[in-house]
Symmetry: C2
Subunit: 273 residues, 2 copies
């Protein structure tokens, strides 16, 4: 295992670069203390197991958040399978590379309070049960989907997979309230299983469901969430052409899930109506 | 555009590493002369157009094969979108990174002559029309598929997509002869459009078809091909569990396509029965 070092590079023959053969995590860190660290480490471990990459010693990971610097930071870890192998065939014995960097981060309180406008993306995610849920380095679909719009007032884009099922947003997970029931898409075939999503599923009665996009128009509330940004209520949903499909008044119905999430991230939970 | 340099590295924030946001080419070079160079440059250009990555000046690419060294070499180019952007969103103006390295290469004449044993893979490729055909850096599916077997006498694994259509092998394209007609899978939804495949489609009457795996058992001949290895006739096809599904006697029916391909690569064309 190569030693982790900030701002480090990888050689051209690293399989993370060559094939996206690796994993990453982006962790919110407040004054050296990571949020949802156990969930991040659990997802990294699961990814290593699926890809057959040796998991770094926990000590080598646990020491990183306190090195991220003071204030609110995002710690990004990249773990690749390292170099070697014959073409796509991984080497019999891998020497993974761990790299990290930390950046200052400022959340967007107005999005917590007032909600966001989102749209459907045209791109449909491929179906790949072997990789679904993992935060691996093959993210071209997310890049292309995010590149579908540039308007700064459009906060996110929603993604279905090639079978037409709702999956997620480009970098956030999706939740909604329907007939009093919290729901989120199943991620068996596509998408990234967010760490905040995992923590919420542990703490709230959220059902993982197969749903098509029309479920959202009938929802009492819709949210986007991840472990960096917290929870954004959705105030307006547009189709891929920019036509409004639905809108919601952000109010009491939105605050319960948000408060549960923000409690986990030490973000504000009070937003007076 | 960063200058290309052999054995160079990329920084941790390079989008090629972070997201697989880039393209690659592996080019056969004989004593400084590249084979199928125009096809490689055409595929790279198409990839740049689809991903919105500025194509390097042709001069910066054309000078590389002669720097690959004497004898038979494989020149690998990696072109990434470079650093920058906000998360998945690409920067408004990219500064791509071009990296290259060259390695000695020895083909396997016994595979040209006697053919190879191949198997079906369990993994099914995701469907992504926006990326199909490109040699992009998101290759985890290929890595996982190639990792399904380790027996050295199994030369390749065949892949279908999630709709069940035949696509390719893990690093080669697939061809077969059926009722006197040369056929190869369409690559509109999945797979990599090989440069040797492109050159053969220009020169021979090959039909691009949608076909399920059962088409192979009834084929008069089956081949795998790429621009590095040339053309391997398929002598035996196994299912994913190792049970033989079909076998072929390698003979005259196999040599026509092979000769056309090997003529393009300056590989041998005569294999006495």
């Amino acid at each position: 295992m190569s030693l982790a070092s900030e701002q480090s590079s990888v050689p051209m023959d690293d399989r993370g670069l060559a094939y996206g053969d690796g994993l990453f995590e982006t962790v919110l860190v407040r004054d050296g203390t990571p949020l949802l660290w156990d969930e991040h480490m659990a997802r990294l471990a699961r990814g290593c197991q699926v890809l057959g990459i040796p998991l770094p010693a926990r000590d080598a990971l646990d020491c990183l958040p306190e090195r991220a610097g003071p204030g609110l930071r995002v710690l990004k870890l990249i773990l690749t399978r390292g170099s070697g192998g014959r073409g796509y065939l991984p080497p019999a014995s891998s020497s993974p590379r761990l790299r990290w960097q930390a950046m200052a981060f400022s959340p967007q309180p107005s999005r917590w309070r007032d909600g966001v406008r989102v749209r459907h993306c045209r791109l449909r995610l491929g179906i790949q049960p072997l990789l679904a849920g993992l935060k691996h380095l093959n993210r071209l679909e997310n890049v292309l989907a995010r590149n579908e719009w540039s308007a700064p007032d459009l906060a996110e884009g929603l993604l279905c997979n090639s079978d037409g099922w709702l999956v997620e947003a480009t970098c956030m997970n999706l939740f909604w309230l329907r007939e009093g029931q919290l729901e989120t898409p199943r991620l068996d075939d596509s998408g990234v299983a967010g760490t905040l999503r995992a923590a919420l599923l542990e703490r709230l009665p959220v059902s993982e469901v197969m749903a098509t996009p029309d479920v959202l128009a009938g929802a009492e509330a819709v949210w986007l969430a991840n472990s960096i940004q917290g929870v954004w209520p959705v105030a307006q949903l547009d189709d891929a052409g920019g036509t409004r499909l639905a809108n919601w008044t952000i109010g009491r119905a939105h605050r319960h899930l948000q408060a549960a999430a923000h409690d986990l991230l030490d973000y504000p939970v009070d937003f007076p109506e």
